[in-house]
Amino acid sequence: MGEVTALRNTPTSNADLFFSFNWLALQGFGGVLAVVQRELVEKKKWLTLEEFVEDWSVAQILPGPNVINLAIMIGGKYFGWRGALSALVGLLLVPTVLVLFIASAIAGVADSQAMQGALRGMGAVSAGLIMATGIKMLPALKTNPMGFFACSLLAIGTFLAVAIFRLPLAWVLLTLGPIASLWAWRCIRKKESV
């Protein structure tokens, strides 16, 4: 464990959490997730890639806006409820002001062809950002106790169910989730008994 902690930084204070999440939110066009991985894992190194994938899974499975869940988890891990609140407010304060400002500023031109085109183009880029975030998590699966093959099967099954067959997300998570967790539980038990 000593080696892992040496490679990792931690937020220094509630203010650090507040401003870090503030900065994240400001960069996050079309969602904050892609930026979270880049800033918190690659730049600040508050989380290893494996921790990020695990925390992100939990943030996703719990109800609520998932980046907000992640902010609460990370803030809460270091500074309890004060940390969670700092990260949450940091994430929401400036975007709220900005979004109201933008909404009133473009109220007149929102229908124009150029504006709609620009929103379309930004939409395609943010879709690409989200896909890349998923692909970048691949290396973290190598250390998964279920092994790479089982992980690939689960990932392919999830993609087919959600993207191709368009099944409701809740169904997919409630069937594949327990199967995957039980399988992981078995694999961990087997490894520990050796």
Binding site: P63, G117, G121, S126, G128, M146, L154, L169, S181, I188
Partner: protein, 201 residues
């Protein structure tokens, strides 16, 4: 749009977002269809145009996706103010709009945030438990795949590849660039906006 909201209506609005807060598995955007059903079709507190432009603006602006809920609350408050006789002052209008935003945002965020805080504090204290580790490891491949699926679904509607292929090309190029390089995300988004505004995609 002219509507009148009494105290009971404000409370119903709040409760609706509270219930959605617990249903928003996989992100706030998954509750958008139900918000439309309630605010636009059932209560007529919001126009369809206000609904769609709230989603589009929140997607194009910095910040979490959930900001679309803030904009909708703001619009409901504005609509309530314009429905008043005699017409209220501008300051009063803005106050009602802010109230709408606050009601919607507190409703959708605080319940799930509280649940997340307490359950993850527990899970963090018990992170060595086999059950907790199995839950996290088991879900990891699902979540990774969900992200790719979400990006896939957001790229465009999937019924007109002949017309939409430039969008797909842009999304694919972005995926590769973000994966392999450290190009700043704002640079990529600006390129997308310019390409879109010039009708290249």
């Amino acid at each position: 749009m002219n509507i009148a909201l009494d105290l009971h209506d404000w409370f119903s609005l709040f409760l609706h977002f509270v219930s959605l807060s617990f249903l928003a598995v996989g992100g706030a955007i998954t509750t958008a269809p139900d918000i439309h059903r309630y605010l636009v079709d059932e209560q007529h507190w919001l126009t369809h145009y206000q609904f769609t432009s709230s989603v589009a603006i929140a997607q194009g602006a910095p910040g979490p996706n959930v900001m679309f809920v803030a904009l909708m609350g703001w619009n409901v408050g504005m609509n309530a103010a314009t429905g008043m006789t005699p017409a209220p002052t501008m300051a009063y209008e803005v106050m009602l709009a802010l109230l709408g935003m606050l009601v919607a945002m507190v409703g959708i965020i605080i319940p799930s945030a509280t649940l997340t805080f307490f359950s993850t504090q527990w899970a963090h204290k018990n992170r060595e438990l086999r059950g907790v580790r199995a839950f996290k490891s088991g879900l990891a491949p699902l979540v990774m795949s969900l992200l790719v699926a979400t990006g896939w679904l957001l790229t465009g509607n999937h019924d007109n590849y002949a017309q939409d292929w430039p969008m797909w090309a842009l999304a694919a190029a972005t995926t590769v660039i973000v994966w392999l390089t450290k190009t700043h995300l704002l640079v990529l988004l600006s390129i997308g906006a310019v390409l879109g505004a010039l009708k290249i995609i």
